[in-house]
Chain length 187, copies 2
Amino acid sequence: MVTDPRQRLIASATALLADEGVEAVTLRRIAREAGVSHGAPLRHFTGRSDLLSAVATAGFAELRRQSEEVPAVTPHERLLGTCRSYMDFALGNPAMFELMFRHDLIDADSPELSGTNSALLDHFSRLIGDAQAAGWRTGADPRVLAASLWAALHGLAELWLRGGLGKALRSDEVDAALDVTLQTYLG
Amino acid sequence: MVTDPRQRLIASATALLADEGVEAVTLRRIAREAGVSHGAPLRHFTGRSDLLSAVATAGFAELRRQSEEVPAVTPHERLLGTCRSYMDFALGNPAMFELMFRHDLIDADSPELSGTNSALLDHFSRLIGDAQAAGWRTGADPRVLAASLWAALHGLAELWLRGGLGKALRSDEVDAALDVTLQTYLG
DNA sequence: TCTCGATGTAGACACCGTCTACTGCCGTTT
DNA sequence: AAACGGCAGTAGACGGTGTCTACATCGAGA
């Protein structure tokens, strides 16, 4: 049982997020869910975006964790596995994924969150650098290539989860689209 | 001078959107901007999402218009130009672009909007089909390939406009990332 | 025992979207 | 000319929201 009130509020918010989506995660709903009065959360967070930032930070940590337990032998395999794990995370935690990139809801410049996106980019850059050292796509700037590849994955997730491809493409066609993307980048 | 009240409200909303972003486009602000009472918009739209859907519809029409005036000779050139025009639109109209894919704000299933995303995908599919007929990347399902390519562009725009790459990448590195994406897909 | 900080409460305020009752006004019909 | 009906707009209310402030409680350290 969690006793730290800050942690308790984050847990309530996370549960609410997964159950009912981003819209439902209001300060007052979180408070109600946690069994406290509507003003209590402001004793522990400076505002809504501060609380949601804490939730999103946990999301980024989990994304990172999942991407690091990908089994792989070659650098190329590790890069491919990380790409797939990124999509798996997005499709498996749609509300959390949405929150993590809704900079109108979180405070992306906060000390806890300011580094996460750069860290993600750096993570991809390192994997790409390793794959390049093994002979793949040498010559390209790994940082720029990482941004391009990450964006391709991110766009597919975003377009699938949000309106974009929802009605226009069947579910298995989206899997196929991911395969095409990975094939295009990773040969 | 526009007299149709519906058109007047859409114009006010569009101006507000460009000036102050998605957050500012509330029914009451739109009404104030248009010089009417706070309840007036509901005489012409069933709700906020209905009005914003009309704004987004105009956005999709403008995106389509801009993509069609791309000068090109070969199918390959036309495809490349359309990709660049998509990014130009996103970076040139960030608030509108955001609104167009915020399905929590618009009613993506409305009669006016339900077809736009499919139409966009079809547009890309057709361009890709033409390029394939000219020998490029034959064999791949044009529909799936279109989704993959569109998503790559979309993700780059989204990641750049929203939090993602904002602090992690310089502006010219984003241009470079677009070049890498186009290079990767279009050779 | 007293004090003080951490925690929580309750009410207020200004927004928001939406609903409803009411008011003009203008063209058409009778 | 008079009556009508629908279109456009108004004004107030309701419940919801984030945030602020004044107040209460309670436990650990001086």
